[in-house]
Amino acid sequence: MPAVPCKTGCGKNAMLKRPKTGDALCKECFFWAFETEIHFTITKGELFKSGDSVAVAASGGKDSTVLAHVLKTLNNRYGYGLDLMLLSIDEGITGYRDDSLETVKRNRDDYEMNLKILSYKDLYGWTMDEIVAQIGRKNNCTFCGVFRRQALDRGAAMLNVKCIATGHNADDIAETVLMNVLRGDIARLKRCTAITTGSEGTIPRVKPLKYTYEKEIVMYAHYKKLVYFSTECVFAPNAYRGHARALLKDLEKIRPSCIMDIIYSGETLSVKEEVSLPTLRVCSRCKFVSSQEVCKACVLLEGLNKGLPKLGIGKSSKAKKMLEEYNAKQKTEIDKLNYEFKKNNCVSKGKVCKSKCNDISNGKNDECNDNCKSDKPELNLPANPKINKLLEEYGLFDDNQEQTSDITKNVNSDLEENTCAGACSGVDGFSIAF
């Protein structure tokens, strides 16, 4: 096969054909074009300001590795004046994240950047391995995605950075546009193509690789001999995204430019004024940004901690129904236990309560009052091993002994008010550093 000259006219022979434009380039010209395009995206999109501290979300995969490398290169070449650092999230996936974090550590050394690693275990009290053991292979990506999004925010706040740079590439964004169309998620459809996201009061996220093709990222990493981790997550891939991904790959084979066309579509469409979109506010529990009263991370965590792992999967109405059923069940169980407790202590076993409180024949209240002269543990539920076990299992009431008389009355409102056992600041597992 005859040698093809580099399209730029540099005189060298081409080494590759750019997937994005179809132009044949030599290695050096490809590197230069690749980096210059990202520089163009950064400058035209006004992603950074001089002197900003930027956390590069690093997973050890190709996208984040290339992002870290290119940002460092461009920062030196064009004098951005950025203080770059790496931020990683350890989801606790054995055989996947533990290995990829080793790659991130290598990047830290290679690029001489600080690295901060936050783990799901520390933040939420659960690793993804444990979550998958609860929820199964289906829907586990929901947990991982929601927790990671929040974990990145928390990490960025700890690092006190101005923004987070993520490695989302053009394929990812096009894929997300398609996915949001397929599932009718109009709110996400509107914002998924934005190069900078983040509302007031939150740390903005920027996507310097927004217009960079995945194939080119792989080629860049390959020719630059960058160290990255290329294994897929050991848990089942997200089925819905997989659908959109498969479609996009097929489309790309026919018309490679369709990736940019899809992004352009996302950029130029808008939502009709009469369509109500969720407004961003602060989660009433963890105080992080949320479109609901309680954020998705708190709902998911509550489900995990209550043994209802599917609580946050699907529509919020489903979750509400599930919680109502759970509360009703709890109430029934507690009523039953109360009844048995009284029965055991006051009536059964041939004992008679001396307090006269249980004088049912007199039609009086069957609850012990202050005048009760029995052992006076009336509804001392924690003393009952059955209740202890129940409470331990569902984590509803930690040491609420003095409130036990109110349990049967207030169980519903308690669950509404204090359903989050992990994501809010009231729990040990979550109160660390936040």
Partner: protein
């Protein structure tokens, strides 16, 4: 024609005219004969015409070619155009021209409404095709119940909520006959049609979700702007400081050796973008400009 006003809701009194536009897919005479017989059976007027006869601005292909080379926009003739672009762009272009034909004929026949037979399934595929071709901002008119781009004639889609599956049941129960003109081709639109067909079988709820999504989307266009010369969609689009047009144009320049540092600033807008996207936002919308670029590039190569 009063039948579709609200005052006369008891009986639908309209004078329909059937319009068959051929030349979009290669059809033989049997299809035309079938349509003629059906119209005779139902006693309605039929007008059949070839799509290529509609664009008559440039009968002389050479003249059009010269104009294109000189960087002036002229509507290319159909035959001239479709032979020089990819199948996906060809299909996209033809569907736009078909729409033009419908509007033109409606006006000639003094009809104030056009009814099309697009079903929920077809519109779902059309929505995805629109997005894939960069026509996301045009979804409102292309997929919605009413296309109000033209002031005088409205294009309506009365079968918008009916799926292909329901339609097939109806056809079977009513013992209606039809001709299947579908042909397998390698283009984006065919791929999406197959994808939608699979979805209809495996997760039918997704189809209606896609169409409902379309109901919520509007264009970010400024409706006061002038329309695209080919697809009639508004040209003035509210854009961010950086869009896919900029990124695409920049990529082209960077890997063609024409880069210079000033392109990062003001020169980029006026010089580069217009080369990669000819007549964009002046005469043509993003997608039509891309199609036109393909056409122009092929002409210059020959």
């Amino acid at each position: 024609m009063n039948g579709i006003t609200l005052n006369t809701h008891k009986k639908l009194r309209i004078s329909p005219v059937f319009l068959h536009v051929n030349g979009i897919v290669s059809t033989d005479d049997s299809v035309c004969n079938f349509i003629t017989n059906q119209c005779k059976k139902y006693n309605v007027d039929l007008i059949s015409m070839n799509i290529s006869s509609m664009i008559t601005e440039y009968k002389n292909y050479n003249e059009a070619d010269t104009t294109v080379k000189n960087n002036n926009f002229r509507m290319p003739t159909i035959n001239n155009f479709i032979n020089k672009i990819s199948p996906s762009a060809e299909k996209d272009f033809l569907s736009r021209i078909r729409q033009k034909v419908l509007y033109k004929m409606a006006k000639d026949l003094e009809c104030n409404s056009i009814f099309t037979s697009e079903t929920n399934t077809k519109l779902s595929a059309k929505l995805l095709s629109n997005i894939v071709m960069g026509r996301g901002s045009q979804i409102e008119n292309d997929i919605g119940f009413a296309d109000c781009r033209d002031k005088d004639v409205k294009l309506l889609r009365p079968m918008r909520d009916i799926t292909d599956e329901e339609l097939n049941h109806y056809v079977r129960i009513r013992h209606l006959s039809f001709v299947d003109t579908s042909v397998s081709e390698i283009d984006l639109q065919s791929l999406i049609t197959n994808f939608i067909s699979d979805l209809e079988i495996n997760s039918p709820a997704t189809i209606s979700t896609i169409c409902k999504t379309a109901d919520k989307i509007s264009s970010a266009d400024d409706n006061t702007g002038k329309p695209c010369r080919i697809c009639q969609n508004n040209l003035k689009t509210k854009l961010d400081k950086l869009t896919a047009t900029d990124a695409t144009a920049f990529s082209k320049v960077v890997s063609s050796g024409e880069y210079n540092a000033s392109l990062l600033t003001h020169n980029f807008e006026c010089v580069t973008k217009m080369e990669v996207f000819p007549h964009i936002f002046e005469e043509l919308c993003y997608s039509c400009s891309k199609n036109y670029y393909e056409f122009k590039t092929n002409i210059l190569m020959h």
